[in-house]
């Protein structure tokens, strides 16, 4: 799995199970024009996923995103596994 590629990992049956869901909110949802999408990217890091998303959607750096996996904030070094739910979290502004 290259650092900048988001290839589909075909290892036996893993391609079916190895799905990651990515959630988009607020300004990111406006940008992507969808609330979620799925990728077959098991085993890559959050950083690698983010680099691919920037290829798909243009520069995201100005949004100051944090990342959550399965509803917990994680660093970009987090390695994604099958079934993980990743959320791109723009600066929160509740209250």
């Amino acid at each position: 799995m290259g650092k900048y590629g988001l290839a589909i990992k075909i290892i036996n049956q893993k391609v079916v199970n190895g799905m990651i869901k990515v959630l988009y909110f607020a300004s990111i949802k406006d940008l992507t024009e969808k609330t979620e999408e799925e990728f077959h990217v098991e085993g890559i890091t959050v950083r690698e996923l983010y680099e691919q998303l920037k290829k798909n959607y243009g520069s995201l750096d100005q949004y100051g995103l944090r990342f959550a996996v399965n509803e917990e904030f994680v660093t970009e070094d987090e390695i994604l596994k099958s079934g993980d739910i990743v959320a791109l979290i723009p600066p929160v502004s509740g209250g």
Partner: protein, 149 residues
Amino acid sequence: MVKKFEITDQPLEERRDTDKVLNSSHGAVTTFTGHVREWTNGLRTEYLSFEAYTSMAEKKMEEIGEEVKQKWKGCDIAIAHRVGLLNISDIAVVVTVSSPHRKAAYEANEYAMERLKQDVPIWKKEIWDNGEVWVGHQNYKPKGSERND
């Protein structure tokens, strides 16, 4: 079941959670309500829209509740945040803290609001008559667009 940490699309009332947190050894209750302001430094807001990552937001609010109960022994707390379209003066958030003692009730409430604004995945969009913006997401941001901090 009583839900102490809740994202809801229903209107919020200030006193909704007092009965959930008050017990017979508590003498003090603090309630914070964040309301939609019409006027902010001369800019007129038409209405607000809040969006949440609901499941994570409720989980994070519950974690904040656990932090509060660790830091201020004997306290209890409930947090509710509304999503969807809110009009002027509508309540966006209610934080209710009960405590045996007064000082802890103030401190714990303020702490919970600070933590909520740091880590709970809720996003606010301001809508004026000539545009709209997700607060804090872009370079352009009207001066003083924060609600209550």
